[in-house]
C-alpha cells in the first residue's frame, strides 16, 4: 500500500505532462475547410502563383509584433479575406524578439524590428530575402523608405510605421523664442537652465549635438565628434536630468519645459498638457522605422508575403495610423488619414526636417568608441 502511492503520483504527473504537451500542439491542427476559402475577388487580384503557394503552406501564419501596434480588426479581416489562420504574438523590445529568433525554433514567420536591429539581424543571417513580385504595394512607399541605408534595395524589409526623435517644448515658456524649431533651443538655451532634459541614451544625445553642428547623425569623424562633445559638456550644467520615458510626468506637471524626446511620448504629453508641442528640428534629427521582415526559418514564407502586401494597402495603413498614432511610410495612405493627424508635427513633421533626418545604425569601431568615451566623460 505504502509503495503504491508514489507510483500513482508519478503516473498522474506523467499523464498531465502528456496532456499539456498535446494541448499545446493542438490549436495548430484546427481551421475548418470553410475558413480556408476566403474572398474570391480579393484572391483573384493577387500576383500569379502566390495563392497556390499559400495553400501549399497550409494557409497558416505566425506573426510576432510589438504590443499595441496594430488595429486588431485588421488581423481578422486578413484571415477572412484570404482564408488564413493567423497566430499573433506580442513582444516588448527588439532585444527580446531578436533573442527568440536567434535561439531558433520559434516558428515565427514575420517580425517587426526597428532599423538598427533589422540591420544586425541581416548581418547575423536571421532573415530571408523578399520576393518583390509578391508585394506590389511596395510601390506606395515614401522615398525615405525606398532603398534605405539599413537595408539596401529593400532586400529584406518593407517599412511598417515610423516616428522621429526631436524635442517636446512648452509653447508658453518659449513663446517668441526664434530658436524654437531648431536644436539651438536646446544647445544655446542657457536661459532655460534647470528646465531642460536630454534623453538618457548616448546615441540620441550625442547625435542631436552633431545635427545641431550641421554634421551627420551617424558621423564617425573624430573632429566632428569632438565638437559635439564640447557642445554637450557646455550644455550639461543647464540639464536638469538625463531621462527618457519618465520625463513625461515632469512635463505634464510643467516642471520640465524643453525635453529631448521621442515623438510617440510627446503625443502623450500634449494630450495631457496642451501647452506642449513637439518638433523635429529643421537641421534634422532621427527617423526610426519598424519594418516587416520574414525570418530565415519561416514555415510559411509565401503567406508572410501576402501579409506584408495586405498591410501595405493604403486603406489598411490609414486605419492602423488612426489606431497607433505613428506615421505611415505609405504615400497613398495619406488621402485616407484625417487632416488632424497629418498636421500633427509629432506624427508627420515638416518635409524639410525629415529630408535632413537620418536613421540610426548600429555603431562599430571608432564611431562607437568615441561615442562611448564622450558618454563616459559626460557622466563621470
Amino acid at each position: 500500500m505504502n509503495g503504491r502511492r508514489p507510483k500513482l503520483i508519478i503516473c498522474v504527473t506523467l499523464l498531465l505532462t502528456v496532456l499539456v504537451m498535446v494541448a499545446s500542439c493542438a490549436p495548430a491542427e484546427e481551421a475548418t475547410p470553410e475558413e480556408v476559402l476566403g474572398d474570391e475577388e480579393a484572391i483573384r487580384a493577387l500576383p500569379a502563383g502566390l495563392i497556390e503557394k499559400v495553400r501549399e503552406e497550409g494557409s497558416k501564419l505566425n506573426v510576432y509584433n510589438w504590443s499595441f501596434y496594430i488595429d486588431e480588426g485588421r488581423v481578422e479581416k486578413f484571415e477572412e479575406l484570404y482564408g488564413i489562420d493567423v497566430t499573433y504574438d506580442l513582444y516588448e523590445s527588439n532585444e527580446e524578439m531578436k533573442a527568440k529568433i536567434q535561439a531558433g525554433g520559434s516558428g515565427y514567420d514575420l517580425v517587426y524590428p526597428t532599423q538598427s536591429t533589422l540591420y544586425e539581424m541581416i548581418q547575423l543571417d536571421l532573415l530571408q530575402p523578399l520576393n518583390h513580385d509578391w508585394i506590389p504595394n511596395m510601390q506606395y512607399l515614401l522615398p525615405t523608405f525606398v532603398d534605405p541605408s539599413y537595408d539596401p534595395g529593400n532586400e529584406y524589409s518593407v517599412a511598417y510605421m515610423w516616428g522621429t526623435t526631436g524635442y517636446a517644448y512648452n509653447t508658453v515658456r518659449t513663446e517668441g523664442d526664434p530658436r524654437v524649431g531648431s536644436w539651438a533651443l536646446m544647445f544655446e538655451g542657457e536661459e532655460y537652465s534647470g528646465y531642460m532634459t536630454m534623453l538618457d541614451d548616448y546615441a540620441a544625445a550625442i547625435n542631436a549635438a552633431l545635427k545641431y553642428l550641421g554634421y551627420s547623425w551617424n558621423s564617425a569623424d573624430p573632429d566632428e565628434l569632438a565638437e559635439a562633445r564640447d557642445v554637450l559638456l557646455r550644455q550639461k550644467p543647464w540639464i536638469r536630468a538625463y531621462i527618457s520615458g519618465p520625463v513625461r510626468e515632469q512635463m505634464i506637471a510643467g516642471e520640465v519645459w524643453i525635453g529631448n524626446l521621442w515623438s510617440g511620448d510627446s503625443i502623450y504629453v500634449s494630450d495631457e498638457n496642451p501647452d506642449y508641442s513637439y518638433c523635429l528640428p529643421i537641421e534634422g534629427g532621427e527617423v526610426w522605422v519598424d519594418s516587416m521582415a520574414i525570418t530565415k526559418e519561416a514555415p510559411h514564407p509565401a503567406t508572410a508575403h501576402l501579409w506584408i502586401n495586405y498591410m501595405q494597402e493604403p486603406e489598411v495603413q490609414a486605419a492602423i495610423v488612426e489606431y497607433v498614432y505613428y506615421a505611415s511610410p505609405n504615400k497613398a495612405a495619406q488621402e485616407f488619414i484625417p487632416a488632424e493627424i497629418l498636421e500633427n508635427p509629432a506624427i508627420y513633421p515638416s518635409e524639410e526636417a525629415i529630408a535632413n533626418s537620418e536613421f540610426t545604425l548600429p555603431y562599430t569601431g571608432e564611431a562607437l568608441e568615441i561615442r562611448e568615451r564622450i558618454w563616459e566623460e559626460l557622466k563621470q
Binding site: 548581418q123 536630468a241 538625463y242 510643467g254 563621470q380
Partner: protein, 295 residues
C-alpha cells in the same frame, strides 16, 4: 562490543548521507544561481567585445587594465561616498528608533516593526517612482512646506544628490533598523541598572554601556546597508536624474547601452571583490559569530 561499534559506524554513515540529502537543495541553489553565473562573469571579463554586441573569445586582461583609466575614478569615489553618507544617516535615524522600540514601545512593538517592514514587500522600482512624485517641484513635500509657510518657492529636490541620499536611506532603512533592534532587545537591562546604581548619568550609560554592547548590531546594520547601497543604480538613475554615474549605472551602461559584456563583467567583479574585502574587514572587527549575526 563489535556489534556496538558496527552500529555506531552505521549511524555515522547514515547521518552523513542524511546531511548530504538535507544540504543538497541549498548546495544546488548556490551552484546554479550563484557560482555558475559568477563563473560566467569571471570568464566573460577576460573576453573582448565584437561588433553588434557579439563576444569574441580573445583572452586578455585588457578589461581590467581599462578600469585603471582615471575617467572611472570619480565614479568609484562617488559610489563609496554616497554609500558612507547613506549608511551614516541610516544609523543616526535608526538607532534612536530602534532604542525606543526595544525599550518603550511595549505591546505596540510587534505592530510597529511590521509596519516598518511592510513597504519592502513592494518592488523598489515602484517605491522610487513614488518618491519622484513626492520630491518634485509641485510634489507633496514642497506643497506641504509651502502650506506651512516655511518656504515661498519650491525647493528643487528631485534630480539632486540629496534626492539620491533620501532614496537610498529610505530603501535600506529597515536593513539598519532590524539588527539594531535585535541587539538592543537582547541587551541585559540589569547592566544598565548597575551602571545607574554606580552613578553613571544617562549619557555616560549610553556611551559606556549601551553602544559598546550593541556594537554587533551596529556593524551588522552597517554591512547590510553599505553592500547594496554601493551597487545601487535605480536610485541614482531615477532620483539623481542620471547626471552622474555610480558604479551600478556604469555597469548598466556597459551591458545595455554599449553591449560591452566583457568590460561590464570586469567592473562587476571588481565591485564584488571590493564588497567581499569590506565584509572580511567587518568580520575581523566584529570577531567570531559575525556572520551569524548578519543573518
Amino acid at each position: 562490543m563489535k556489534d556496538i561499534r558496527r552500529r555506531i559506524s552505521a549511524f555515522g554513515r547514515r547521518s552523513g548521507g542524511q546531511a548530504a540529502i538535507m544540504l543538497s537543495p541549498a548546495v544546488l541553489i548556490l551552484l546554479v544561481f550563484f557560482l555558475l553565473p559568477l563563473g560566467f562573469i569571471l570568464f566573460y571579463s577576460f573576453l573582448t567585445r565584437g561588433d553588434y554586441g557579439a563576444i569574441l573569445y580573445d583572452l586578455s586582461l585588457k578589461n581590467y587594465r581599462q578600469l585603471l583609466d582615471p575617467i572611472y575614478f570619480p565614479t568609484f569615489i562617488r559610489s563609496f561616498g554616497i554609500m558612507l553618507v547613506t549608511t551614516g544617516v541610516s544609523l543616526i535615524f535608526a538607532y534612536p528608533l530602534a532604542y525606543w522600540l526595544a525599550f518603550y514601545a511595549g505591546r505596540m512593538r510587534g505592530l510597529l516593526l511590521f509596519l516598518i517592514v511592510v513597504p519592502s514587500w513592494t518592488s523598489e522600482l515602484v517605491r522610487i517612482y513614488a518618491w519622484m512624485f513626492l520630491l518634485r517641484d509641485g510634489g507633496l513635500v514642497n506643497a506641504q512646506l509651502m502650506n506651512l509657510g516655511l518656504i515661498d518657492e519650491a525647493i528643487r529636490m528631485l534630480f539632486t544628490p540629496s534626492a539620491v541620499i533620501i532614496g537610498m536611506v529610505y530603501s535600506y532603512f529597515s536593513f539598519m533598523l532590524l539588527p539594531l533592534y535585535a541587539s538592543l532587545d537582547r541587551l541585559d537591562r540589569s547592566v544598565l541598572e548597575a551602571a545607574a546604581d554606580l552613578g553613571a548619568n544617562p549619557l555616560r550609560r549610553l556611551i559606556k554601556v549601551t553602544l559598546p554592547l550593541t556594537k554587533g548590531g551596529i556593524l551588522s546594520g552597517t554591512v547590510l546597508v553599505a553592500v547594496p547601497a554601493v551597487g545601487d543604480y535605480i536610485v541614482p538613475d531615477l532620483l539623481g536624474g542620471a547626471r552622474v554615474n555610480m558604479i551600478g549605472n556604469l555597469i548598466e551602461d556597459k551591458f545595455l547601452g554599449f553591449f560591452d559584456w566583457p568590460f561590464g563583467s570586469a567592473i562587476s567583479l571588481v565591485l564584488a571583490a571590493m564588497v567581499v574585502a569590506s565584509v572580511l574587514i567587518y568580520i575581523r572587527i566584529a570577531g567570531k559569530g559575525a556572520i551569524e549575526r548578519l543573518i
